[in-house]
């Protein structure tokens, strides 16, 4: 904005102020926002990604009867997690082909809590011997708490980024005064103007989503960011427990009686829930003190079709199987949170809505990406010596390359690592993640060492090649090649292969366009001529 400052000695209007705010708020945390947006976008298909990353788990041709599966796994947990004070299992559904369970491991040390977890085959009830991986959960967790740092720090950083995003959205809307006149406008070959048009379109079309996702993102972690109200309102442990119960489906354990009584039929409990909520619409089964006379079991409702994450569950006496309570509503404040939380995660979606979420979120990613690139496009014209730009410009330019093109390479590398790392490797799941960060770091080094233009092109081509070859790698390393998935109607694997090719194409197109831009000197003169115009209009990115 320095040039604009020189041109406009008069007091700056609100649009100019908002333009600088938008530029700098966007830039400062733009790289983090881009990573949050992209990893968050793919997380809409987290469960599918997890299925792909555990190819040993068989595809479920149809959802098995959840009541039967629940009983089978409960029996198995009785052996695997004998003596535990609580266990919890997520039943298989349309998007999950396994039962994920965790349990508190009994420890002598009263102060210590340790969890065990495992995936179970719904058909046999046995633990699945699949490769050790975090699956799609890695991108999901990275999206709001990053990695290699304490979880709380990561969440604070994500919250700061989200606040900057909110500032950028509001200031962007104020800055963009011709929001309706320019609604469908794209001007080709106008350099900065074209970038701005694209950035505006991506922002405006997805505006309801962008605003919703940023705001609800903050709501998901509000208890961390603003704990004071809660601390003042709920002082005793009993009140805190009640709050926790209001917000989650995990019933609070009472004291065990010490008297051994086997667990009543879990299948019967799940059947009652199925009658109430629908055949395939049971989410989790949670038990406290299983095998004790004081056992309680909660069967929670699935998330499909209701825009709220407020828990709904039926609580049973664990020894008699008698229904104790049904919880289907929470207070207004808790329900507001439940709805906003659900809107962010989109887990209620049917397949069509999930794709809409994915695509609009992808537009959001592109919005942040174009915004970042525009910072350099806009300033390159005004550099005193374009061949030797100043340090700040070079820094932003290189960070852009690594955080945009480099992230594509690194995320694909993570999937390659999933297929290539030996199963016996110790801490294998961690090494997949290390591979992601090592590759990302390498792309940064590459961006620093190569000329900017070449770095862009080479990294985009690298991402394209890695994506294009991923289905080939999948063919070579698993029993589930593309044609096999197609004939089996295994849509998760088919979809994954097709998405890889589509994204490979996208990166190839971007690489080709970037390469072509090098030759075009015409548009540059064009921009120089128009530059004062753009600045005066106040529409600067």
């Amino acid at each position: 904005m320095t040039a604009a400052d020189d041109d406009l000695p008069a007091p700056r209007g609100i649009r100019q102020s908002m333009a600088s705010l938008h530029t700098w708020a966007g830039l400062l945390l733009g790289w983090i926002l881009y990573a949050m947006f992209l990893t968050g976008t793919v997380s809409y298909f987290k469960d599918e990604l997890s299925q792909w990353m555990r190819p040993e788990l068989r595809r479920l041709a149809q959802i098995p009867d959840q009541a039967v599966v629940a009983q089978r796994i409960a029996d198995e947990l009785g052996k695997v997690a004998a003596g535990t004070s609580r266990w919890s299992m997520r039943l298989p559904d349309a998007r999950n082909n396994s039962v994920a369970a965790f349990w508190l491991t009994p420890t002598r040390d009263a102060g210590q809590r340790a969890f065990g977890d495992a995936y179970f085959d719904p058909a046999t009830g046995r633990k699945v011997a699949s490769r050790d991986t975090l699956g799609g959960d890695f991108f999901y967790r990275f999206h709001f708490q990053f990695h290699y740092m304490p979880v709380v720090w990561g969440r604070w950083l994500a919250g700061a980024a989200a606040m900057f995003m909110l500032v950028a959205i509001v200031s962007g809307v104020i800055t963009h005064k011709k929001i309706f006149v320019d609604f469908f406008t794209f001007r080709w070959r106008k350099g900065q103007r074209s970038w701005l048009d694209a950035h505006n379109a991506l922002s405006v079309f997805g505006l309801p989503f962008h605003f919703m996702i940023t705001y609800t993102g903050l709501v998901t972690l509000m208890a961390l960011y603003m704990p004071w109200g809660e601390r003042v309102a709920f002082k005793t442990p009993a009140e805190r427990q009640q709050l926790a119960a209001e917000l989650s489906g995990f019933i609070q354990p009472g004291r065990p009686s010490g008297q051994k009584v086997p667990l009543a039929s879990v299948a019967d409990m799940v059947r009652q829930a199925q009658e109430r909520w629908g055949q395939d619409n049971v989410g989790r089964v949670n038990a406290v003190h299983p095998g004790d006379a004081a056992a309680r079991v909660a069967v929670t409702r699935g998330e499909v079709g209701r825009v709220s994450l407020s828990p709904q569950y039926m609580e049973f006496d664990g020894t008699t199987g008698k229904l104790l309570t049904v919880r289907e509503s929470v207070g207004a404040a808790a329900e507001t949170r439940g709805v906003l939380y659900a809107l962010h995660l989109g887990r209620f979606s049917d397949l069509e809505t999930r794709w809409l979420y994915f695509l609009v979120s992808f537009m959001g990613t592109a919005m942040v990406g174009t915004g970042l690139v525009m910072w350099t496009v806009k300033r390159r014209q005004k550099l005193p010596d374009p061949d030797h730009p100043h340090f700040g410009f070079r820094l932003v330019e290189r960070l852009n390359i690594a955080s945009i093109a480099g992230l594509s390479v690194a995320m694909t590398a993570f999937l390659w690592a999933n297929r290539l790392l030996p199963h016996a490797l110790e801490n294998r799941a961690d090494w997949e993640i290390h591979a992601f960060f090592i590759v990302w770091l390498l792309t940064l080094l590459h961006a620093l060492l190569r000329p900017a233009k070449s770095a862009w092109i080479e990294q985009l081509w690298a991402a394209s090649a890695l994506l294009f070859l991923l289905p080939v790698l999948n063919t070579l390393t698993t029993q589930r090649p593309f044609w096999h998935s197609l004939s089996e109607a295994d849509w998760v694997f088919v979809g994954m292969d097709i998405m890889c090719w589509a994204l490979a194409l996208l990166h190839a197109v971007l690489a080709i366009r970037t390469a072509r831009q090098r030759a075009g000197g015409r548009s540059r003169r064009d921009i120089d001529r128009r530059a004062p115009n753009i600045i005066a209009s106040g529409e600067v990115g």
Binding site: A201, F205, M212, L356, R530
Partner: protein, 104 residues
């Protein structure tokens, strides 16, 4: 099914709204449409979008309906946008020229 219908309605709605704008009338049709036609396009576009919202809300309820509508609106606006940009690109390529920048 309601998804497909809502999608088509949104697409038609945004296309109508785009053609109700002078810039796109000039770029695509070569000149402005008479005001009554422009007005009719604007009304038709708005009506199509509203009926898409109506269909989604009746089929899926307010909460899900609003979410789906927002998604369909974003995607279809993007498609109309890309179609217009693509059309201009192809035409410019065919003629070998780019239209002059209009003073705004």
């Amino acid at each position: 099914m309601s998804h497909l219908l809502a999608f088509m309605l949104c697409l038609a709605g945004f296309a109508a709204l785009a053609f109700a704008m002078r810039r796109h009338q000039r770029d695509v049709l070569g000149g402005p449409l008479p005001p009554p036609k422009t007005y009719a396009l604007r009304v038709a576009g708005g009506a199509a979008l509203l009926s898409a919202l109506g269909i989604l809300v009746t089929q899926q309820g307010w909460s899900l309906g609003l979410v789906s509508f927002s998604g369909h609106a974003s995607i279809t606006a993007g498609i109309v946008y890309c179609a217009l940009a693509g059309y201009m690109r192809i035409r410019a390529g065919a003629l070998g020229v780019y239209p002059p920048e209009r003073k705004t």
